[in-house]
C-alpha cells in the first residue's frame, strides 16, 4: 500500500495537534490551572493517528485514562476538550467528566475511561451493535499493556472471537503499567502472542511508526468490515512522561528513556516527510504554527467559558 503525500501530511498534522495539546495541558497543569489530574499521550501519537485514519464517524472507539490523543485522532473538538479539562460548562461533558471521561457519542467516541481495561467489553458491545444492525461499521478498543492483564481482556477477546465481532483491539504497549515494567507484569514479550489463545490474528508493530500502525490497522479494519472478526494489534511505544503529570518517574531507566526519545514518532515523521520531499522544514513549521494557534484559541475559549451552574450536580443522572 502506497501512502500518499496528502495522507502523510494529514497524519503529521494530527500528531502535532496531539503533541501540542498535551504540551499545553502539561503547562496548564503545572501552573495549577487544571483541576484533578491528567495522563498525557506524548510519545504515543502515532498509534491513535495511524489507527483512526482508517475510521469514519460511524465507527466506534473506546479510549483510556490516557485518552486525549484518541479523541483528537477520531475527530474530537479541541475547544470542547480543553474546556472539559478546565471543568467548564462548555466542555464536552459540561464539566462533569474531566480529562478521564471525555466522550463524543456522535463521533463514535464512547469515552475515555478511568478504569483500566473497562473499554474492552464496551468496544465488543459496540461492535456487537454494528453487526446486529448489519452495518459495516467497526469498533476499536485502545488499551495499554497493563490492561491486557485484566479479566476484561480475556472475556472480551474470547467473546469477540466466538461472535466474530467487528472489533480491533489495539494494545498500546508503552512498557509500563503505571510504574510496573512489562517484564515484571507478564511473562510474554509480545502481547500479540495472546491473540492465539482466542483464535484471532495478532500482530506486533512499531508503534512509533505511524505508517506501520496505519497499515496494520487497515488490514484489521478491512477484515472486521468484511465480517471476518476481531484482531489484536500490539503497538510498541513509549510514554515520554510519567503515568500522570507530577509522576517523578523514578522507575524509568534514563538510558532507555533517552533511546526512546530518539525514536520520537513526531520527529521520525518529520524526517520522513523531508526525506521524501513531501514538505520542507519551513512548511512543517507552518503546520506547527497553525496548530499552536488552534490550541491557544481552545485555551482562550476554555478560560473564557463559564463554570457549571452548581445546581447542575443533579442533572444527567438519569435519562428521562
Amino acid at each position: 500500500m502506497e501512502i500518499t503525500k496528502a495522507e502523510l501530511l494529514s497524519f503529521y498534522e494530527t500528531m502535532v495537534t496531539i503533541r501540542t495539546f498535551e504540551e499545553k495541558a502539561a503547562e496548564l497543569f503545572a501552573a495549577g490551572k487544571l483541576p484533578g489530574f491528567v495522563h498525557l499521550y506524548i510519545g504515543e501519537e502515532a498509534v491513535a493517528t495511524g489507527v483512526c485514519a482508517n475510521l469514519t464517524d460511524k465507527d466506534y472507539i473506546t479510549s483510556t485514562h490516557r485518552g486525549h490523543g484518541h479523541l483528537i485522532a477520531k475527530g474530537g473538538r479541541i475547544d470542547l476538550m480543553m474546556a472539559e479539562l478546565f471543568g467548564k460548562a462548555t466542555g464536552y461533558c459540561k464539566g462533569k467528566g474531566g480529562s478521564m471521561h471525555i466522550a463524543d457519542v456522535n463521533l463514535g467516541i464512547l469515552g475515555a475511561n478511568g478504569i483500566v481495561g473497562a473499554g474492552q467489553p464496551i468496544a465488543a458491545g459496540a461492535a456487537f451493535a454494528c453487526k446486529y444492525k448489519k452495518t459495516d461499521a467497526v469498533a476499536v478498543c485502545f488499551f495499554g499493556d497493563g490492561a491486557s492483564n485484566r479479566g476484561t481482556f480475556h472475556e472480551s477477546l474470547n467473546m469477540a472471537s466466538i461472535f466474530k465481532l467487528p472489533v480491533i483491539f489495539v494494545c498500546e504497549n508503552n512498557m509500563y503499567g503505571i510504574s510496573n515494567y512489562q517484564k515484571n507484569h507478564m511473562n510474554v514479550s509480545d502481547i500479540s502472542d495472546r491473540a492465539a489463545a482466542y483464535g484471532i490474528p495478532g500482530v506486533t508493530v512499531d508503534g512509533n511508526d505511524v505508517v506501520a500502525v496505519y497499515e496494520a490497522a487497515a488490514e484489521a479494519v478491512d477484515r472486521a468490515r468484511k465480517g471476518d472478526g476481531p484482531s489484536l494489534i500490539e503497538c510498541k511505544t513509549w510514554r515520554h512522561r510519567g503515568h500522570f503529570e507530577g509522576d517523578p518517574c523514578i522507575y524509568k531507566d534514563p538510558k532507555e528513556q533517552e533511546a526512546w526519545l530518539k525514536k520520537d514518532p513526531v520527529l521520525s515523521l518529520e524526517k520522513k516527510l523531508t526525506e521524501l520531499k513531501f514538505a520542507t522544514v519551513v512548511e512543517l513549521e507552518e503546520i506547527k504554527a497553525a496548530v499552536k494557534e488552534k490550541i491557544d484559541s481552545a485555551v482562550l475559549f476554555a478560560q473564557n467559558s463559564p463554570d457549571p451552574d452548581p445546581d447542575d450536580v443533579l442533572t444527567d443522572v438519569y435519562a428521562s
Binding site: 461533558c93 464496551i122 438519569y318
Partner: protein, 323 residues
C-alpha cells in the same frame, strides 16, 4: 386476564417488547436452547433465533460490559446474570460504566439496558446462590432497581424496564418463578416508581417487596383474625421509590414495619426507615420495626435456612410489638 406463572409473565413481557422493537435482544449464559437456568427464557430462542437470543460464554464481565457498549451504540440489550450472587463478577461494568456513562458524558449518552437476575433463598442453594443484594444497586445513582412480587407485576415491570432509557436491574425472586396469578394479556406496562397496595389496612403499614410480600400478606391475614388490620405496601421498584405512597400509608396507620429478605445492616429497609423518620416523624405513633435476615451468609441446611429467613411468625411478632 390469563393465568400465568411469574416466569411465564416476565417472559411474556420480554417477548412482547422483542416483537415491538427490533433493537431489543437477550443475551446471557444458557438463555438459548437451554431456556435459562430456571426456564425463564424457554421458547424465546425458537421464536427469535440465535441473533436475538444470544448464548454467551461464562463471562459475566463481558456479558454486562458488552451490553453497555451495545446500548451506547443504539441497541436495547437485556442480559441475564444467572444468580444475583454473580453480580460481583461484573460489578465494575454496573458501578463505573453503565451507571455513570450518562452523567460523566454530560448527559450525551443513553444506556438503555436491563440486567435480569434471580435472587433469594429457600432452596438450600447456600451462601453463593441465595442472596438478596438489592441494596448494592440502590446505593448507585444512575441505575434503577426493580423487584416484582407477582406475575402481573413481573410482566408490567419487565416491559417498563425494557422501555426505560437507563440501566435497570430487574431482580426476579427464584421462589416466585412458579407462582401463578392473573396477568393482563397484550401490552401491559407498569410505570417504574409506582407502589402497589397489596392489601388495604388501617392499623399498621407493612412495607415488603419481592417474595416478602407474600409472607407479609400471610401475616396480615393472621393478624386480621386477631383484630389488627395491616396494610401491605409493595414498592415494586426501590429506585425510583414511591416515597409518597409509603408516607401516605403511614399517615393512615401510624405504624410501620419493613420486611426484606436481605441482611439487616445497610439493607434498603434502613433507607425507608430513615425517610419516614425524616419526613414522617409526626405521623408515627410507634417505633419503626424491621424484619430482615440476620447479618450472616445464607446457610445451607434447610433447618438453618428456615431460621435465617424472615417468616410470617417473625412479621406477626414485630407488628404486635407496636401495640
Amino acid at each position: 386476564m390469563k393465568q400465568m406463572t411469574y416466569a411465564e409473565a416476565l417472559r411474556d413481557g420480554i417477548r412482547l417488547e422483542m416483537q415491538r422493537d427490533p433493537h431489543v435482544y437477550l443475551a446471557g449464559e444458557d438463555v438459548g436452547i437451554f431456556g435459562g437456568c430456571f426456564g425463564q427464557t424457554a421458547g424465546l430462542y425458537q421464536e427469535f433465533g440465535p441473533e436475538r437470543i444470544v448464548d454467551t460464554p461464562i463471562s459475566e464481565t463481558a456479558i454486562v460490559g458488552h451490553a453497555v457498549g451495545a446500548a451506547a451504540a443504539g441497541l436495547r440489550p437485556i442480559v441475564e446474570i444467572m444468580f444475583i450472587d454473580f453480580m460481583g463478577v461484573c460489578m465494575d461494568e454496573i458501578l463505573n460504566q453503565a451507571a455513570k456513562m450518562r452523567y460523566m458524558f454530560g448527559g450525551k449518552a443513553k444506556v438503555p439496558m436491563v440486567i435480569r437476575t434471580p435472587c433469594g433463598a429457600g432452596v438450600s442453594a447456600a451462601a453463593q446462590h441465595s442472596q438478596s443484594l438489592e441494596a448494592f444497586f440502590t446505593h448507585i445513582p444512575g441505575i434503577k432497581t426493580v423487584m416484582p412480587s407477582t406475575p402481573a407485576d413481573a410482566k408490567g415491570l419487565m416491559c417498563a424496564a425494557i422501555r426505560d432509557d437507563n440501566p435497570v436491574i430487574y431482580i426476579e425472586h427464584k421462589m416466585l418463578l412458579g407462582l401463578q396469578g392473573d396477568v393482563p394479556e397484550g401490552e401491559y406496562v407498569i410505570p417504574l416508581g409506582k407502589a402497589d397496595i397489596k392489601r388495604k389496612g388501617s392499623d399498621v403499614t407493612i412495607v415488603a417487596w419481592s417474595a416478602m410480600v407474600h409472607k407479609a400478606l400471610a401475616a396480615a391475614e393472621a393478624l386480621a383474625k386477631e383484630g389488627i388490620s395491616a396494610e401491605v405496601l409493595d414498592p415494586r421498584t426501590l429506585n425510583p421509590l414511591d416515597k409518597d405512597s409509603i408516607l401516605n400509608s403511614v399517615g393512615k396507620t401510624e405504624r410501620l414495619v419493613i420486611v426484606h429478605e436481605a441482611t439487616r445492616t445497610g439493607g434498603f429497609g434502613g433507607e425507608i426507615a430513615a425517610i419516614v423518620a425524616d419526613e414522617g416523624f409526626d405521623l408515627l405513633n410507634a417505633p419503626i420495626k424491621r424484619v430482615t435476615a440476620p447479618d450472616a451468609p445464607v446457610p445451607f441446611s434447610p433447618v438453618l435456612e428456615r431460621n435465617y429467613l424472615p417468616s410470617e411468625e417473625k412479621i406477626i411478632k414485630a407488628v404486635k410489638e407496636l401495640f
